[in-house]
Symmetry: C2
Subunit: 115 residues, 2 copies
DNA sequence: TTAAAATACTTAGCAATGCTAAATAGTATT
DNA sequence: AATACTATTTAGCATTGCTAAGTATTTTAA
């Protein structure tokens, strides 16, 4: 259980990170859960109910595309996602927005005012 | 009008910044609106409907305390806020949480994985 | 001296997103 | 055969920023 503050900080950022990971190459929901957990060193441990709706939103917005893969070695199908061209561009844009946002916030903690 | 992404990034951060500003010395709602706008160079332009509920939450949580000031030069009262001891400690904690959060997010954009 | 603008606070209702929780199903391990 | 792991779906809640409108006082300008 996290405090409310930490929880709220994630809003918007999770979707950005999921898009970023998918831009790195085709992947699927369950793997994203694992990667978010591991690559954040246990700081972004999502429940399925958080991740999957993010994937559906990204798909609705046309930023990623899905196809069901008939596993080769195994039979159970996975829903593979990859970034569309629009998704790749949007990923770049969000990175820039994030960086500017970060700078703005940090400005409030530097020397009293944000020069 | 901002895009949905930029809007969502603010969640949690606005309350953190308001607490930070109040920790810097007694102030009141309208002044906070101005300072957030100016010290962010126009990036955090809040409507009253966003700011005042934040102040009420901080007060409910016991992080800030309010008193009505009978203006000296003017008659109209302002609701002055200042940080409580708990608020000062919480401000420090949130700064640390923010810094760790920031690091974690940036980790996803550095060298592919978050070492 | 009246009208407008700026100062200052309040509140109702909506939108977006992370959370809890539970359900479904196939595969691997013991 | 039972349990754990992989994998996806969905319903409902909580939090918080947004729009929008309203009230009231003070200052400025016509």
């Amino acid at each position: 259980m996290e405090d409310r503050f930490s929880q709220q900080l994630k809003k918007g950022v999770l979707e950005m990170l999921v898009l970023k990971l998918i831009c790195g190459g085709p992947t699927y929901g369950y793997e994203l859960l694992t990667r978010l957990r591991e690559e954040s060193h246990g700081r972004f441990v999502l429940k399925e109910g958080t991740l999957y709706p993010i994937l559906y939103r990204l798909e609705d917005e046309g930023l990623i595309a899905a196809r069901w893969s008939q596993g080769e070695g195994r039979t159970a199908p996975k829903k593979m996602y990859e970034a569309t061209e629009a998704g790749i561009l949007e990923n770049i844009r969000r990175m820039q927005v994030w960086q500017e946002f970060e700078e703005t916030v940090n400005g409030f903690y530097r020397g009293g005012n944000n020069a």
